[in-house]
């Protein structure tokens, strides 16, 4: 900034001289320069002289180098040098110094110096021309036109921003024009010719002659010499002596206090404070409360705390040097890692010079050596040895091996903790409700129906629940009164009674009895007399058979009315089969009944229609030994159990719907849930299988409750109960709740084991049946009894 200012000033200064003769400019410039020099070193005037000599000499020495290159130009050059010498003065000196560096470089390279010579040649021409110019302007050079002090400095223009119109080259280092005759261009784009410069001698002469020489300076812009006025000099002197340039400026003017520093008691202004100023600021309050909250929550800290923390941080820090010994290792990527196993600290035995008691005696040595094959059994993995000094200790032979093993330990050690679920086995057992909450169910044996003389194979209950029918190997069928255990009637048959089934339709009074190869339809003559009579009427008349039956059926089964002596016993219709019947079962409506003859090959299952006295053979091919059949309680479906599997057939479409895989060796019986979606299957291999027909063809649950072959299973019609009878003489009552919600699986809870039957010839319980209304279960056994559990 200061430099710019000075430049500006220089620009402004020469303006008045512009009007004068351009010659004067040159001299003025020269004077200026010298003056500056003088101002810098006022007392070096004499030395200056000497310096000139020295300079000259030094210059010549420089030139001499050039001379060695081109001798012919020597003289002329020297002259020009001399001529220029006076103009350049100090500024040139600075430049020379710069050039010297360059020259030093050029010394190394001869080629470069050649180039320098080439550039130097035009220099040689210049002096000659400048010489001529100098000759022309010699006269005005001596004339020094002092600036008119009477004229105000800024008379013509008071703008400081105005361009220096004396020289239009602008604010550039003026030494760029050193090598030219001109110093720049004036307003009219004409060259401003440098004023002629006198040589050393001229300067010297002027110094001697001109009393104003010391105050003559050169204007660098115009090259003119300027004579400084007394004021200028005084100003320069003041600046040089670090004083304020303006002599009129009073540095110690008296202090005027515009605003008092004292606190006034009364307000300066009379305006009362606004009401607002008495109310606490809402926004501030909000801000404060926010900060208080932040402080409370610990998000923000008070400056005190921050300071304290800083203090603590700055303060001496203690840390556990052996932290890894006690703390847990931090591992990347592994959460809660297992730290590496630590090696035991060396004991006395490992010392190179152990106390004698640690050294092995012979016995210990022998023992140690004996465990060579199983080194892990050794107490110590090495043999303690004693050396006189540490120097005598040899290299440890197992060092590498042990390091390697240690590395293996560390590397193979599982570092992440494997989460082993610690689950109590009991926890995994599904939570079953307590049997007490599932009442009512049979708990005690209440009645024993005695009267049969051989094992009772089958039992069936009247739909109303007052009477009971049983069939036995003593070739009799007995009808009992449930409540008292009284045998009301005994019907003798010709063969072993394998199965009895009371017609589930309460409007009919019929019992189907499978005895030998005959199926008897018996009217038990108990219950409503009207029904008994109706049933008799129904069975007495045989409908007209307009359908001609196929030979296959005719040879398999014949319908006939009972003989008179049998009629008296109650037998109404006899259906004679070609093979012994094993099972008989009713359809829910009581019109159809199905029989099973295991020996009947492809005719082993038959369906009889009571109202039409007609029989059908539903299957043309035998898929296996049929064990038992069952009607679906609601749908027209027919379940056929062979030894291993159960097939479900649609009776209307006459096709196989499903095949249930029991994965058991021999099926003994089955029972369907009254809603028809669940099937229970008993097998001779001690299992009971619960099939959810909607769920899968595989058992939903397999129950191994019995210790021996399960003979029979039965669902209760109303209560969520089922019972199973087995050869281990036990009847097991279980809760089997089927929910209406399809998403909820059936709940099965074994409730009670009822074991009162006696064992006869490896047989226990042969059949189980529920009372149709009460939660009572009947079981028949090989011990000739029927038992009622309530």
């Amino acid at each position: 900034m200061t430099k710019k200012r000075t430049v500006k000033r220089k620009v402004k200064e020469p303006e008045p001289t512009n009007e004068q003769a351009p010659v004067s400019e040159e001299s003025e410039n020269e004077e200026d320069e010298d003056l500056l020099q003088a101002v810098k070193d006022p007392g070096e005037d004499t030395t200056d002289d000497e310096g000139i000599d020295q300079e000259y000499q030094s210059d010549s020495s420089e030139d001499l180098e050039f001379e060695s290159d081109e001798e012919g130009n020597y003289l002329g050059r020297k002259v020009s040098n001399e001529a220029e010498e006076g103009e350049d003065d100090d500024e040139d000196e600075d430049e020379d110094e710069d050039e010297e560096d360059e020259d030093d470089d050029s010394d190394d390279d001869s080629e470069e110096s050649d180039a320098d010579d080439a550039s130097a040649t035009p220099k040689d021409d210049q002096p000659s021309s400048s010489k001529a110019a100098a000759a022309q302007t010699k006269e005005p050079l001596i004339e020094i036109i002092p600036r008119d002090p009477s004229k105000p400095e800024y008379e013509d223009s008071d703008t400081s921003d105005e361009e220096d119109i004396r020289n239009t080259v602008g604010n550039i280092p003026m030494h760029w024009y050193d090598e030219y005759k001109h110093i720049g261009y004036d307003w009219d784009a004409k060259k401003i010719i440098k004023p002629p410069k006198g040589d050393q001698i001229d300067d010297f002469l002027r110094k001697i002659e001109d009393p104003n020489f010391w105050r003559t300076v050169k204007d660098p812009m115009t090259g003119q010499e300027v004579l400084l006025t007394d004021e200028d000099i005084a100003l320069i002197k003041r600046v040089n002596s670090s004083r304020i340039p303006n002599p009129e400026h009073n540095e110690y003017a008296p202090w005027i206090e515009w605003f008092t520093s004292e606190v006034e008691k009364m307000p300066i202004k009379n305006v009362p404070d606004h009401k607002r100023s008495f109310l606490p600021s809402v926004s501030e309050k909000k801000k404060v409360s926010r900060m208080v909250h932040a402080l409370k929550m610990g998000w923000m800290k008070t400056t005190e705390e921050v300071e304290r923390e800083k203090q603590q941080k700055r303060g001496p820090k203690f840390y556990m040097l052996w932290e890894t010994d006690t703390g847990r290792e931090h591992m990347r990527r592994i959460h809660d890692p297992v730290s590496a196993p630590k090696r035991d600290l060396p004991g006395h035995a490992e010392s190179y010079n152990p106390p004698p008691e640690y050294l092995f005696d012979e016995k210990e040595t022998k023992e140690w050596l004996k465990l060579k094959d199983e080194p892990h059994k050794r107490k110590l993995h090495f043999m303690p040895q004693k050396y006189k000094s540490l120097r005598a200790v040899p290299a440890y032979p197992r060092y590498l091996r042990e390091r390697f093993l240690r590395c293996l330990d560390l590397y193979l050690c599982p570092r992440a903790k494997r989460v082993k679920l610690n689950i109590d086995a009991e926890y995994l057992i599904p939570k079953l409700p307590s049997p007490r909450d599932l009442q009512p169910f049979p708990t005690v044996e209440s009645l024993v129906y005695r009267g049969h003389t051989d094992l009772v194979r089958s039992v069936s209950v009247e739909p109303k629940g007052e009477y009971l029918v049983s069939g036995s190997d003593d070739k009799t069928v007995k009808i009992w009164e449930i409540a008292t255990g009284r045998c009301i009637r005994t019907i003798e048959t010709n063969d072993v009674v394998r199965c009895v089934a009371w017609c589930p339709n309460a409007k009919l009074s019929i019992i189907a009895v499978a005895t030998g190869s005959r199926l008897l339809l018996i009217n038990p003559k108990v219950g409503d007399k009207l029904l008994i009579k109706k049933t008799d009427d129904l069975l007495a008349e045989s409908p007209n058979l307009d359908i001609i039956e196929s030979e296959r059926i005719k040879t398999a089964v014949q319908w006939s009315n009972a003989e008179p002596e049998e009629q008296e016993k109650g037998v109404r219709v006899v259906i004679t089969h070609f093979k012994p019947i094993r099972q008989v079962t009713w359809h829910g409506r009581g019109d159809y009944l199905a029989t099973v003859m295991p020996e009947g090959a492809n005719r082993s299952a038959l369906i009889h229609q009571l109202s039409k006295r007609r029989s059908q053979i539903p299957f043309s091919k035998s898929k296996g030994l049929i064990q038992c059949v069952l009607f679906h309680p609601v749908k027209p479906c027919f379940f056929v159990a062979t030894q291993h599997n159960i097939r479900i057939y649609d009776l209307v479409k006459q096709e196989l719907i499903k095949k249930l895989l029991t994965n058991s060796k021999w099926i003994s019986g089955m029972s369907i849930h009254p809603k028809g979606d669940n099937l229970l299957v008993s097998t001779y291999d001690k299992k009971m299988l619960w099939f959810d027909l909607d769920l899968s063809t595989k058992p939903y649950q397999t129950m191994r409750l019995h210790r021996n072959a399960v003979r029979s299973v039965a669902f209760h019609l109303r209560y969520p109960l089922f019972a199973s009878g087995s050869d281990d003489q036990a009847v097991i009552v279980s809760h089997g709740m089927v929910y209406n919600d399809l998403l909820q699986n059936p709940l099965i809870v074994p409730l009670k084991k009822l074991q009162t039957h006696e064992k006869r010839d490896e047989f226990g319980v042969l059949d189980v049946t529920w009372h149709p209304v009460q939660p009572w279960v009947f079981s028949t056994g090989a011990d000739c009894t029927i038992r009622l559990y309530t």
Partner: protein, 419 residues
Amino acid sequence: MEVENGEGQVQVHLKTKQEQYAVPDVPYAIEGSVSTTELNIFLNALLQSKGAESVDFDFLVFDEYLRGRLCDHLREKAISFEDSIEIEYVERFPAPEPQDCLLHDDWVSTVKASGKWILTGCYDNTLNIWTYKGKHKLTIPGHTAPIKAVDWISLDDENGRFVSTSQDQTAMMWQWNIASNAVECVSVCKGHERGVDSVCVSPDAQRFATGSWDTMLKIWSAELEDVGESTAKRAKESGVRTPRMTLQGHRESISAVQWMDNNTLLTGSWDHTLKVWDLNLEGIKTEISTNKSIFDASYSKLNNLIVTASADKNLRLYDARTNQGSVVRSTYLGHNAWVQTVMWSITEEFLFVSGAYDNQNKLWDCRSPKAPLYDLLGHGEKVLDIDWSNPKYIVSGGADNTVRVFKSSKATVENMETK
């Protein structure tokens, strides 16, 4: 602690409602381990000082019979041993003595006593009339199926009338001339669709009610001449009677019918409910639902309680006055089989008898739920019916073809006089 172990002493007050056995009301300190026997000796010693002769007593502690040690009883009832305990003592009900065994040809399904006569119904479809002395008076055939229930309508010195029901779906009303020992079937009541299991004649002898396996409750006229029937003419000639009223409400067989008064009936059914019917409304007044099938129910006018018999060996006590409740007042444990029959004493407020399929009759005090007062042994088979209509005699019939008569010597003079 000592007391709880039966070693310490308890302070007791002895009280009685029987004036003749009163002792001074002073506290006695007695051992906690005493039982009825020791208390009896102690009390008799007190009484003997007044010159009375030895009597057996039973002791009631907080309205329950003391059976076993006093300390156990107190602990069970959670009574503090430091309180002074009031023990009420009553003269022990004397043990009924087996008096007679009336042999029948078949199972005796029902038995009813009145005056000096015992009426029994058999599985061989006959009715029999016996005297208490064990003399067989009459065998009445008529039904075509086993008799299930009988009841006396009226009895005087010359004539007796009774009704019998059978599995042949009918009830028959009989008139018996005692002098000539001739019996006549007054009428056959037809209407039930299955066997009629229970019958009861109203207290005013005007009507009788039958409960059947067809779940219906029917009310019949018990008059000799059934009046007010539109079809009376033809019916009268044939002697067939139709029900006055048919009440439907039970879902299963009605096993017990009893009149509570002339217009209220109590029925017990296999459908686990007790129902109280109001005949004026012809509907159900109260229903007590239980969780067991009821085989017999008996109502006592003396204490308004109902005792029921069911298959799970227990007798249960219900309060007839509760509405829609099923709160069991007490459960009487003692039988070890299906309990078939039960009946309140008509003179003793707290006593009832029960018969079960464990071949035993038991005499109970309703304040002693843990053990009966007496076991009445004798039957060799299931007991099917028991009757205590005559306070002097407990009569029971069973599947061993016998009727057993037990003489209840307590038939105290004053009780008999009031009757």
